[in-house]
């Protein structure tokens, strides 16, 4: 009976030690991903038989393929800032695709890519800014309108 008591005491002590250690580490520097800039594909001529795609690179460069013609306008990659504790290992997850909508009409953004590797270590500053780009597919029957949607990126 005495041996069993000692076992429980050690177990409880261990659990309490783990319990007190864990939140201390996580609460000290919670991981936060904040948006600094929206992903803007700008204006482009498409639809009416003109199909193709518009690509925004993480670097901010915009290009078109197929019969889509870029029209002068404001465009930008999505910008985020990852904050956590220095030296923390992160894993960045981007969606395979997401949708921009205007009423019932949709366009798909795919081939998402980021300016930082999908996994790495937070620098000494504890802050890692990064950008995300993607490719927007425009069909030949795309209705003229401004389409919008949301891009979610997850960091663990």
């Amino acid at each position: 009976m005495a041996g069993k008591n000692r076992f429980w005491h050690i177990l409880v002590a261990t659990l309490l030690a783990i319990q007190s250690a864990l939140p201390a580490a996580t609460l000290a520097a919670p991981t936060v991903v904040s948006k600094t800039q929206d992903l803007l594909f700008g204006k482009f001529a498409g639809g009416a038989g003109f199909s193709g795609s518009v690509r925004i690179d993480p670097s901010g460069a915009r290009s078109a393929s197929g019969a889509v013609v870029l029209v002068p306008s404001t465009f930008s990659p999505a910008g985020f800032s990852l904050t956590g504790h220095a030296g923390m290992t992160y894993t960045l997850s981007l969606p395979a695709s997401f949708t921009l909508s205007s009423g019932a009409d949709q366009m798909t953004v795919s081939d998402l890519s980021a300016s930082i590797p999908s996994s790495g270590v937070l620098p000494v500053s504890g802050t890692l800014p990064f950008t995300v780009g993607g490719t927007l597919t425009v069909t030949g029957r795309q209705r003229n309108s401004t389409y919008s949607g949301t891009l979610d990126v997850t960091v663990k």
Binding site: N5, W8, L11, V12, L15, L16, Q19, L22, P23, T26, L27, P30, T31, V33, S34, K35, D38, L39, L40, F41, G42, K43, F44, A45, G46, G47, A48, F50, V54, A67, V69, V71, P72, S73, A78, G79, F80, L82, F98, L100, M107, V109, V132, G134, L136, V138, R143, N144, S145, T146, Y147, S148, G149, T150, L151, D152, V153, T154, V155, K156
Partner: protein, 177 residues
């Protein structure tokens, strides 16, 4: 004895509950950032030639000169070049149909020069002029419907230019700006 066991078990349970709590904090370690994304599809710009540019008929002189067709089918000759009312009436302004996003602005680009080839020395074409029909202005599409673009130019005729028909083409390029 039974009482102390219950107490120990409670402590163990409390420890476990605390661990679950800690695990909960660990899961919220993952963070999500959300960006808004937009893209605007505008109607493609199209330009279609409807009427070809025609300088009409004219007579070359002993000195060089020019033949101008303005944006209203009017032929004007200068220098050694002469014409008649009948020949001038054959002149036609080039017209194009432009379609695109209502109210959008665009730039028109012409070649610096172009040539018309024929029996003699090629005629040089330059000084392109532009006008549009009612609705919109040059470089701005109307609120609705297509725009008719009229294009005139100047042809340079050499002294004693060989008689005959001279033909050529030139590109009119439009882009949203």
């Amino acid at each position: 004895m039974k009482r102390t066991t219950v107490l120990r078990n409670l402590v163990v349970l409390a420890g476990c509950a605390a661990l679950i709590c800690a695990a909960g904090v660990g899961v919220s370690h993952a963070a999500t950032g959300t960006s808004t994304s937009t893209g605007t599809v505008v109607q493609p710009l199209t330009i279609t030639n409807v009427v070809n540019l025609n300088f009409g008929k004219f007579i070359a002189g002993s000195s060089g000169g020019t033949v101008v067709v303005d944006t209203a089918n009017v032929q004007t000759v200068s220098g050694g070049v002469t014409s008649t009312a009948t020949w001038a009436a054959l002149a036609k302004t080039a017209t194009f149909t432009v379609t695109g996003e209502p109210n959008a602005t665009y730039a028109i680009t012409y070649p610096n020069t172009s040539t018309l080839a024929g029996p003699g020395t090629a005629l040089t074409l330059d000084t392109f002029t532009t006008a549009v029909d009612a609705g919109g202005t040059v470089g701005t599409l109307p609120v609705s419907g297509p725009q008719i673009l009229s294009v005139g130019a100047t042809a340079h005729v050499a002294a004693s230019q060989a008689a005959g028909t001279y033909l050529g083409s030139f590109d009119v390029t439009i882009n949203y700006n």
